[in-house]
Amino acid sequence: MPVVGLVVHGAALVLVVTRRKDEAIVIGEGIEIRVVRIGRDEVRLGITAPVEVAVHRREVYEEIRRENEAASAILADPRRVNRSSP
């Protein structure tokens, strides 16, 4: 696997590699990401991971994170509790 770049980002390493169709990378134990199809502006990836490992699309995760943070602020504001208490 040709390593194109290796950057230290906080406590993590950022690894940049070139992969062709049907090539894969392996992360730790039991996680594999394979390039299934390459389009003009997108790639299709096949992800193999142990069942206990959650795999999310970044933008979906971020969207839900923002919702949860807003949701926890409802009860964090004591003026609102009387209106919306269970």
Partner: protein
């Protein structure tokens, strides 16, 4: 707002917006991944109102303060499809016929309106005391669904 875990006793004392509670170990649900935005909150309890309200409070036992109002999505939308993938079922340690508890989180509370996140429900397996927030990428339900408070009152558990 802080919860005070006590190692020496099986019950955990909680200080919440709704008062002080003792949560028995048998009521504490582990979320192995926490919730998005609250990844360090790994244990929660579900606080229920003694009265007719269908709203519950999902309250973090440890980690940063996290407390959510939530409701069964079927109380919001009668035909809400409560289906989980095989992967989610496995992660919850739930068999094909296991009873699962479903909660959707109330994300916006304006003066007279409440909105729930129907897209990413929390699913709990009460048998194994395991929970997680489902994040489907094929969005079947809206992120902000307006709660019909009148309809909710009509379906109150004791009709009150």
């Amino acid at each position: 707002m802080s919860s005070t875990p006590r190692e020496e006793s099986s019950a955990i004392r909680l200080s919440t917006q709704f008062g002080e509670f003792e949560a028995a170990a048998s009521h504490i649900i582990t979320f192995p991944e926490g919730l998005p935005g609250f990844e360090r909150c790994l244990r929660f309890v579900v606080l229920r109102h003694a009265g007719p309200s269908p709203l519950v409070c999902l309250h973090a036992v440890d980690g940063p303060t996290a407390s959510f109002l939530a409701i069964d999505p079927r109380r919001v939308l009668r035909r809400y499809q409560c289906a989980v993938s095989d992967a989610v079922r496995l992660r919850l340690g739930a068999g094909p016929n296991a009873f699962l508890l479903w909660l959707t989180i109330i994300t916006i509370a304006n003066d007279d309106e409440l909105f729930v996140n129907l897209r990413a429900p929390v699913v709990i397996n009460p048998d194994r005391l395991l929970g997680l927030q489902v994040m489907p990428h094929d969005a079947l339900y809206p992120l902000h669904y307006r709660l019909e408070l009148d309809a909710l009152a009509r379906t109150g558990t004791d009709g009150a």
